[in-house]
């Protein structure tokens, strides 16, 4: 296929054609598209989740509220929106949690933003439920032998946020500095801090 033909028939061209058709029919406006693009490229992202985790590390009462009702505890920090009905699951010395959506790509948008492409890939979705130790190791996340892996397949209303263990050597850090330590992957469960 020539480069020119690819430009006419590839997904980017089809996306532009669908956008043009929907605008012609009055089903969508540039203002609406721009607002969605701005929201997901600038306003929501894993920094929100990092702030939730950092607060849970320093405030035992907040952690308790987070575990009892994730959605409400997250809303306390001002984070609300679609895909926001969150269940927080805590890593401990005995348990490592990891999140997947085998059927589609359910993900806690309000705290982590939109999922990375690999989270939505059939590779990740197929393998994490069946061979979590192998896949975690491949992704650079080594779980000690005596730690139980709990996989959460978010197949319905709930979205999962992993609360990683607070790493050693962070005793002197305030909440803002602690949030810098928390990575997106640690809140999905494919990394340990």
């Amino acid at each position: 296929m020539s480069k020119h033909h690819e430009e006419l028939t590839g997904p980017a061209a089809r996306a532009a054609a669908l956008e043009a058709l929907m605008k012609e029919k009055g089903l969508v406006t540039d203002e609406f598209i721009d607002a969605v693009v701005e929201t997901y490229s600038e306003k929501v992202g894993p920094r929100n989740g990092a702030r939730v985790v950092a607060k849970a590390w320093v405030d035992a009462a907040y952690l308790e509220r987070l575990l009892a009702n994730g959605k409400d505890a997250i809303a306390e920090l001002g984070f609300e929106g679609p895909e926001g009905d969150v269940v927080a699951v805590c890593n401990t010395d005995d348990v490592h949690n990891v999140v997947v959506c085998t059927l589609c790509s359910c993900y806690p948008w309000t705290v982590l933003g939109l999922p990375p492409a690999w989270y939505k890939s059939p590779e990740y979705r197929a393998r994490m439920v069946r061979e979590p130790l192998t896949l975690l190791a491949e992704m650079g996340c080594d779980v000690p032998d005596d730690v139980e892996v709990r996989v959460w397949d978010s197949s319905a209303e709930k979205r999962y946020l992993v609360v990683p263990q607070r790493p050693d050597g962070t005793d002197g850090l305030d909440e803002d500095k602690l949030a810098d330590v928390v990575t997106r992957d640690s809140m999905i469960g494919v990394a340990r801090l």
Binding site: P11, R14, L27, V37, T102, L103, A117, A156, E157
Partner: protein, 200 residues
Amino acid sequence: MNGPHDVGGADGFGPVVREGSGEPWHLRIHAIAVAGMLSAGYGTPEFRHAIERIPPARYLASSYYERWMTATASLLVERGVVTSEEVGDAFPLAGPVRAPRLPEPGSDVTEPRFTVGDGVRVRNTHPFGHTRCPRYVRGRRGTIVRYDGPCNFDDVEAHSDGKRLEPLYCVRFEASELWGDASEGGTVNVDLFESYLEAT
């Protein structure tokens, strides 16, 4: 439906590739998909079902946002908002809905049949319509670890103009119950609606 989306436990996919950022059209299609739902009056379950109806070979060969694009175009054509001629031949569409349209969503179920700690078995059902019950847990035994209250039942909303509630649970399966000798240990925890489950 036992569609190409239901990949949990499938082999042969290879390594997870962590590539870089997305392309500019991805977020625009995200917005367009949301606009399609709002303007043509279908919800997330029906949208997900349209993605599931993409023929398997094309589903697996498509990127995530290509699937969103195909589902949106398909639903707009199916709803009569645009014509297939307007969408054009170059645009691949999803396959037909095989489950019957429900004339009524039915009555809400608000009293849970199970409680945390109960043993359950997932019914071995294979509906042609939308379901949030993955194949890899069907027929398997687990334990209820969380009750989430009555929630909107996606399986009904996908095929009805209305909605109904049904109790939702998180069910914990020992990995060995799901994968036998090939298990790597630990547990898999899956959110399942009450009508997927029977007492053990």
